[in-house]
Subunit: 415 residues, 3 copies
């Protein structure tokens, strides 16, 4: 009897179905066993963006997040380092902290009051018998790395090297002052689509012209070199010239001088991170609905002509930072067909709501753009469920980054 897509299908067979230049075969979006394999080989092996150090200003501040069914607790510990632990008691497995954020002096399990320090050490377990090895019963830690205020964690025993990522991101991100920023707003989304469809959407702007009429006004993403009209090309050149001068004054480097999306990821060199600074359109000082600033300048910026900084890290992070605000997107799979996205808007640390910025103005641009994208992702998800779905060809001129993502993804599966 024929089984459903992928039951008893080997990974090798599945990977062999993938053809470069085309989308993923259907089973990649529908198979539970593959999803679990992705959790092992991609999500629990890579570096995951967790949040911002500025979310945890004081010792004891914490937030939690959930990767599939794994709850993780990120906390600023006693010596002010950021630490991360599996959010379950080492006694019976009880979920330690139900809240999304809070501040604690110690972590006390509500079931039997086992008590852990903010460093994860088991401090008290009254009621246990003599001879319990308390040292072996501390909270299970995750590796933590921070870079310019961005917190990355890894479930892996031996996490991937992080230095290369920080070396690329830090020089670009430093001026933005993310480590000194303030969270102005968080919005959580549940996208009814496999997590890969969210990245596929992110990695091409072929869909932008019709689907993001607001977004494309701010940038040159849809103006690939070879397709730009002379007028557009001229505008891009002017923007670049203007920006270069301004940026040199600020000590910023221009990294992406062409229209279109910067190439990312790079499967050959196993580059899963990226930082680029790109020009905005002539009328735009910020990625806002009308291009005007929506908050005070951030970080080291002394004027608004800083274009837009874009950070990315697979498998779960991207950030767009304008002169006045930054928006981080964190993805987390919550099942084969469900992806959680958390958008965090950051402003200068001393900016005051309703005085220096208004939330509606601040959030409108990326809220709209993101929601437009989630709807597209869900529509593709509904389509690829069809038994008639066959991967189509990808545009070499408009979907090169999507292709790069798929090649990176397939490579990860087999590592």
């Amino acid at each position: 009897m024929q089984k459903g897509p992928l039951h008893d299908v080997s990974l090798e067979h599945l990977v062999a179905l993938y053809q470069e230049g085309y989308g993923l075969p259907r089973a990649f979006y529908l198979d539970t066993a593959l999803y679990e394999h992705e959790l092992e080989t991609i999500w629990r092996r890579g570096s995951l963006f967790a949040g911002h150090t500025c979310e945890l200003p004081r010792p004891g501040d914490l937030f939690t997040f959930t990767l599939d069914t794994d709850s993780v607790l990120v906390i600023r510990a006693d010596e002010r380092q950021i630490r991360a632990f599996h959010n379950i008691c080492t006694h019976r497995g009880t979920l330690l902290c139900e809240e999304e954020r809070g501040n604690v002096r110690a972590l006390v399990c509500p079931y039997h009051q086992w008590t852990f320090s903010r460093n994860g050490t088991l401090l008290r377990c009254a009621g246990m018998h003599e001879g319990i090895d308390k040292k072996a019963l501390g909270l299970r830690p995750l590796h933590v790395k921070t870079c310019e205020g961005l917190i990355f964690v890894s479930f892996a025993e031996t996490p991937p090297p992080f230095e290369g990522a920080c070396e690329v991101m830090a020089p670009q991100a430093h001026s933005q002052g993310l480590a000194r920023a303030k969270v102005a707003k968080v919005i959580e989304y549940e996208i009814a689509a496999n997590w890969k469809l969210v990245w596929e959407n992110n990695r091409e702007c072929y869909h932008c012209n019709v689907n993001h009429p607001q977004y494309i006004k701010s940038n040159f993403d849809i103006y690939e070199d070879e397709r730009s009209s002379p007028l557009m090309r001229q505008r891009l050149e002017e923007a670049l010239a203007r920006s270069k001068a301004a940026w040199q004054n600020e000590g910023l480097t221009i990294t992406h001088e062409r229209g279109g999306l910067a190439a990312f990821p790079d499967v050959e060199r196993n580059i899963w991170y990226s930082a680029t600074r790109t020009v905005l359109r002539e009328d735009y000082e910020s990625e806002s609905m009308d291009g005007r600033r929506v908050a005070p300048l951030m970080g080291d910026y002394r004027n608004a002509h800083v274009g837009v900084l874009r950070l990315r890290a697979l498998p779960n992070f991207w950030n767009h930072s304008s002169c006045d605000h930054a928006v981080s997107t964190r993805l987390l799979p919550a099942g084969l067909h469900k992806t959680k996205a958390r958008l965090t808007w950051l402003v200068a640390g001393d900016a005051q709501e309703d005085v220096d910025y208004r939330l509606d103005d601040l959030t409108a641009f990326w809220r709209l753009t993101s929601e437009q994208d989630w709807e597209l992702c869900e529509r593709v998800q509904r389509g690829v469920r069809s038994s008639a779905y066959r991967p189509g060809p990808l545009s070499q001129t408009r979907e090169y980054n999507l292709e790069a993502f798929l090649r990176w993804y397939v490579r990860q599966l087999s590592l």
Copy 2:
């Protein structure tokens, strides 16, 4: 460790569990792998009733439907033929049309604006690289056959012969004028039962006496020859005699002269379609609550004494047509334990709502009867989930058609 019902059980083993004269073993209602096998061997191989040509009067008119997770788009194309396509873009698999019905000049994918003609040809895919083979990227078609205004589609590469079905249905159905009819009302139901239970219910009237007190007043379904009282037998004979005379005037043939249900399907001859005309009870001109007409005469009929035409086609169609209206039922599995039923009421093409017919009067009879049946199907579904369920004996006098359905079904699995 014992697995759930049917995991790793071969189809041969499963089929061997079935015993003629009895209901289906439990696994047939509970196993996901079997359900997927049914999709392949029955639903994606047979001819499926999709809808009526009169639902698509103008070029560009379309409707969509979903078999399990496969969305299909049925459209009247440029040359007025009815065409059917998988409702997904050949680029990335995006669902093309979310709406249940509409009218389009061309089919434009909302993601990247690939544009398909109403004949399925890829017209435009701006943004793709040079050398794309547009001819190979048209929408994936399904086979379409129409017969007297009924649209049948097939997912199969080589669909089953349809001529025999149309040769049987057309002569009976022609006078009804379905191709010239008008859709007065559509009601969609979601039945919490496996699709086979819906057919099992349809294929016997052993349950009618108590469960359909309204329905049985209109016909002789529950009066099997051998069990009829002399009075009933006399009434049936009188109805037949009266009808024969009237029908000859109309050029109609009587095909089912006995009480009870006409035999269908016929597994030995692989007959999956049927058309019969049967007498109504003496007080009934139409299958309505009080037997009175609820709309103007349809098609070629010149008087009301046409009995009732019944059309059937496995795996998903039946129709009851009275002199004044017709009701088509379309089944579609939407999961192992969920079946969607769409009932469509048709009247004469020029009949006007609230002038020539009132929706409440038109729909009451089959709405009531159908809902009574769905409730029974759901109750059986709840019962067969029990590990204590064993198939019981079928009545040779009252459930012969149910038995015929099961034998047809089991045969299909193994073809």
Copy 3:
């Protein structure tokens, strides 16, 4: 490709993962195949508490319950015995009785009116062909045993011996008069946790101090001998001395003279049932919020100094009975991660609501305590879903009964 937890894992392998002295490995809470195995080896093999004889005073009275997807009907039959049947028709499997309770003269299937006597005999099946063996088509019975008004059923062909259980429970329970009692209130809960977590919670009072501040005021459960303060020990001794004298007058036996929980179950002797009578704290006459009686004395009791009777039977029953009321808890798994709990409050048979007792006062104590427990169980369920969960050590002094439960459970799997 790595599969989810337990796919294709043998029972032997799974059981080998369990280490005495520790909690259960994660797969025990997450694997569907194991859950189905538990249904076979524990739930459909053991004796299950179904309800109370006093719920069915008259012939024809019935109630239904559902184990996973198996619906069972318990009825007082014509000769006043309690009988139990699978609640499905032997014809097509239709669920016979949808209601949770009722009174019938006969059981009539709504589909085709097959009619069964209250003893399960098939009385009528009009419409079937000649030669049907009606004797073979009676309702499928379950074994039924009653003991002091408690009804136990077994799905097994050969149920486990019940005599030992009744010999232990009856002498303790007789004075309570459960067979002559009246159901004052029933509350059904749906706990989002595997059924074993509910038992694990029940089998230790290590969690009581913080989580059940009301409950612990009434009893000595948290005062294990070795840890009691001298004052507590003195109070326990005084309570015992006082109670012994009173109980001797009543003909009651004291069975659990120490603080803490009585040892149960006993895997070595395969003891799955238990009955103990324990002292209440000095201010408590009843397990109520303030210790005062909340209903008239039950059964043979002539005064309130009867402590508390506790009955238990694996896999699904416990009962706390005070002088004035009794509370039975019945568990039924409703899926891998869902457990239904039904609490039944009983009072003296002639007690009248709002005259002799008020429902709020009667139910507050165990409603509160139970709901506190369900919340803890659900929180552990959320925790053990984490891939980082590893079984922790159990307290030898506070979780000995939990350990005993796990050892009993693992033993059952392999029988």
